[in-house]
């Protein structure tokens, strides 16, 4: 499911008046930034932070409820799973998968989308038509089916997942950049510069990027949340990073079997996932409200 559906093609919603949020600005940004930063730290420092081995547990301590003293003598603040592995440690390591694929996918999507958007804007004509039709086709389609199909055929490896999740979101970037280029071209000075022999990359750098910079940031943030959720969904369906490597979606999948007896196996990673998605997308929303309200009705 794409958040892009909040921004339909040509909806002339009235622009919201700029809200008196400036007073609240630093708080939300700082908290969310801190949260994402903390996650990143957790991901990088996982080996040092995780109390136990996430891939090896003691069969004697299976399905232990959250406790400070289990039958294997260790503390399991989030309990253990069906193989006796510490859930907290697995959640910590799972951060790596989510953030790696999330950020990488956003980069892939941004690059591909940005490039295509620029192409469409600059070249126009049939290339523009083609790119926009492909964009429509992708939007009008349950991407998750395509993602599942491709992963099922090609295999669930890191690179495959990054590419598939990345390609799920290129359309927004493409649209924004195309719109930006088109609006600049209307002002004609772009064509003038190019006519005078100026190079396109410079136009890019000097005129286009500064204008879309903040918009891209908004999109990237929202896309990050979406990418993380999509990766978790694929893992939940068994098509993500394979066990025993911990991933949040994979853990929720494993815990489903034990929902009635050991609910913490699914709930712990699920809550973290929800929180991450919430914080990141809320940040994106707020960024959009502040930096580029036009995105609401692009």
């Amino acid at each position: 499911m794409s958040r892009v559906f909040e921004q339909p093609a040509a909806v002339p919603l009235a622009l919201p008046a700029v809200r008196r949020r400036r007073r609240r600005v630093p708080w939300l940004l700082i908290t969310s930034g801190a949260f994402v930063g903390a996650l990143a730290v957790v991901a990088v420092a996982a080996p040092y932070l995780a109390p136990q081995n996430p891939e090896r547990g003691s069969l004697r301590a299976r399905l232990v409820a959250p406790t400070l003293e289990a039958s294997d003598g260790k503390a399991h603040p989030l309990g253990t799973d069906h193989l006796g592995r510490d859930v907290l440690s697995r959640v910590i390591y799972g951060t790596r998968v989510s953030l790696t694929i999330g950020f990488a996918a956003v980069a892939v999507g941004g690059l591909v989308g940005g490039l295509l958007g620029l192409l469409a804007g600059f070249r126009g004509g049939w290339l523009d038509e083609v790119i926009m039709t492909v964009a429509d086709a992708q939007l009008a389609f349950p991407f998750i089916l395509l993602a599942i199909g491709i992963i099922a055929v090609l295999g669930p490896s890191f690179p495959n997942l990054i590419v598939v999740v990345g390609l799920s979101g290129w359309v927004t970037y493409a649209r924004v950049l195309r719109a930006q280029v088109l609006s600049l071209r209307r002002r004609e000075f772009v064509d003038a510069i190019v006519g005078l022999g100026g190079s396109i990359p410079r136009v890019l750098l000097r005129h286009i990027l500064p204008n879309v910079g903040s918009t891209l940031m908004v999109i990237a943030t929202l896309e990050l949340a979406r990418a993380i959720v999509l990766e978790a969904t694929l893992s939940f369906l068994g098509l993500g990073i394979q066990p025993p490597t911990p991933s949040w979606g994979g853990m929720i999948h494993e815990g489903r079997e034990y929902l009635d007896t050991a609910w913490w196996i699914s709930v712990a990673p699920g809550l973290i996932l929800m929180l991450t998605s919430l914080v990141v997308s809320r940040t994106g929303d707020w960024l959009r409200d502040v930096l580029d309200p036009t995105l609401r009705g692009e």
């Binding site: 090896r56 069969l59 394979q242 025993p244 034990y258 007896t261």
Partner: protein
């Protein structure tokens, strides 16, 4: 004591128990009051169990919850657990094995060996197929010959390899001539492959139509099949073994363990198969349900494709076996519902060697053997289903971790059941995979030899001494000789490990308390008068 009466706060034990039996006090209440009376928790629980309210029902329908959907109704084209549970009830065999392990008359009323290589079976008279056709010896002959017809490529073509030819001299007699003296022939006829199918009907409509609308002689007959949902059968009113006491039997497909348990506890199903140990206690302690199990007449093994390196090296396989902590698996993953095997023969079978100790757990020794074998870290794939066999995926993950501990590069791959079935047929497994061979005859010939013999379903490894002994033991009438042969074969087995036996588990079922059911240790799920009925008020 009536349901609506209130109990005094500290009743006597007698009154409390009477109230419980009448269903007047819920379980928690009972335990609380028992505590007030000074009865310890354990004693109170025993009282609860012993004095359980005799639950009865007026239901005319039995709903069975399975772990998956049916794939085929034709009994000769599938030996999958979900299918045989249905086919054993749609069809009958000539010989019937009851839960006590003995052979009883089925569609044949008596049998005897009239010559060293000839068995004579007297066919039951007056039996009709579900479509009304009369049953006769011609059907028996047709069924048996169908299993090994090379043009048909059935899944059970190795069950009757000892049979040379079948004769049906008159409608009431079947003569089976074996290639060599085969004392186990009646037992062979009692299991899958031996279901008798209708000659006239199949010849008229063809195998595909027969599979779509099966016709048998069994206690239930086919009504409908909603894919991935349920199979509806209705009671055969003229069943020769006596009409069962429900009108319909429904097999529902509930792949998820938790969902199946929930369905049982809520009363949506009456019988649940594949009750995993993790849920055993919950089902047993629930006021309306109970768990019943029997030691499986078979083993859970990791079958090995001994043709692919590094699995073609005996030392590697020995290391793999030594690295598995079976005791921990039995105790923790199975909560004690099983025993560690000591070789390729199931406990309870003929010639089970009680002198052999359970397969050893010695990680240190495992590492040394790997070194000796020159193991270079080649990946060893565990291709497992998830939920088709009890604990398949958890055991795979646990064993992969144990193997990693001794330096084996173990990789777990999860397959859908249909893909596993395909790999099974095409022999395309990459490494090891779970198999739950059933000891169909109560004898090593029916398990170890049936599956591992040349041309058998798991023919990935050959050994001249093993092959020779197996063949000889099959046809020998000298039990002492057979015992010795199987001992020697076991020794060869434990050197080459074509299987890595892991556990001989209990087959557990969850039942509503009003269902009386005695399970058969060989997974032969049958609903007939002699082993199941509903408790009626």
């Amino acid at each position: 004591m009536e349901r609506h009466e209130r109990m005094p706060e500290t009743p006597t034990v007698e009154t409390l128990v009477k109230a419980w039996r009448a269903g007047a006090v819920p379980r928690r209440e009972f335990l609380r009051r028992a505590a007030l009376l000074g009865i310890g928790a354990a004693a109170a629980n025993t009282l609860l169990e012993r004095e359980a309210p005799a639950q009865t029902t007026q239901k005319r329908e039995l709903v069975v919850g399975q772990g998956g959907d049916i794939s085929k109704f034709d009994p000769h084209y599938s030996t999958s657990a979900n299918d045989i549970r249905v086919s054993f009830n749609t069809f009958d065999n000539l010989v019937s094995r009851h839960p006590d392990g003995k052979l009883y008359p089925g569609l044949a009323t008596e049998w005897k060996s009239t010559a060293p290589t000839t068995w004579q079976f007297k066919i039951r008279q007056g039996v009709r197929w579900h479509n009304g056709d009369p049953f006769s010896s011609a059907d028996a002959k047709f069924s048996l010959e169908r299993t090994w017809d090379p043009a048909l490529k059935t899944r059970v073509n190795t069950v009757f390899t000892t049979i040379d030819r079948v004769e049906a001299p008159d409608p009431a007699t079947v003569l089976i001539h074996t290639k060599q003296p085969d004392p186990l022939l009646p037992a062979r006829l009692a299991f899958y492959g031996g279901q008798i199918v209708p000659k006239k009907y199949i010849e008229a409509v063809g195998s595909d139509a027969f599979n779509a609308k099966p016709v048998g002689t069994g206690p239930v007959r086919f009504v409908s099949w909603t894919k991935d949902d349920k199979v509806v059968m209705e009671a055969n009113p003229d069943y020769w073994g006596g009409r069962i006491d429900v009108d319909r039997v429904i097999f529902r497909s509930i792949p998820e363990n938790a969902a199946r348990v929930a369905a049982l506890l809520k009363g949506e199903i009456d019988v649940m198969v594949l009750l995993t140990p993790d849920h055993f206690d919950r089902v047993n302690q629930h006021p309306t349900t109970r768990a019943v199990g029997v030691l499986y007449a078979g083993l859970y093994v990791l079958a090995v494709n001994s043709k692919v390196p590094p699995l073609n090296t005996p030392l590697v396989k020995q290391a793999m076996s030594l690295a598995v902590d079976r005791e921990a698996i039995v105790k923790e993953l199975w909560r004690g519902r099983g025993i560690a095997p000591n070789g390729p023969i199931a406990r309870g079978d003929n010639h089970y060697d009680t002198t052999l100790s359970p397969l050893a757990f010695n990680p240190k020794e495992a590492r040394e053997r790997l070194k000796k074998a020159g193991y270079k870290g080649e990946p060893i794939y565990i291709e497992t289903t998830s939920g088709y066999m009890a604990n398949d995926k958890p055991m795979s993950e646990a064993i992969a971790a144990m193997w990693k501990d001794v330096g084996l590069n173990a990789v777990v791959e999860v397959l859908e059941y249909s893909v596993r079935a395909q790999k099974n047929r095409e022999r395309t497994f990459k490494g090891v995979w779970w198999s739950d061979p059933t000891s169909t005859l109560g004898d090593p010939d029916g398990m170890m030899w049936r599956l591992l013999s040349p041309g058998g379903p798991q023919d990935y490894w050959r050994h001249p001494e093993f092959d020779e002994l197996g063949q000889a033991a099959r046809f020998s009438l000298d039990e002492k000789f057979r015992g010795e042969a199987y001992k020697k074969m076991t020794r060869v087995f434990l050197e080459h490990f074509p299987w890595i036996p892991v556990i001989q588990s209990y087959e557990d079922y969850g039942l509503q308390k009003y269902v009386e059911f005695t399970p058969n240790p060989n997974q032969q799920f049958e609903i007939r008068r002699f082993n199941s009925r509903m408790r009626r008020a």
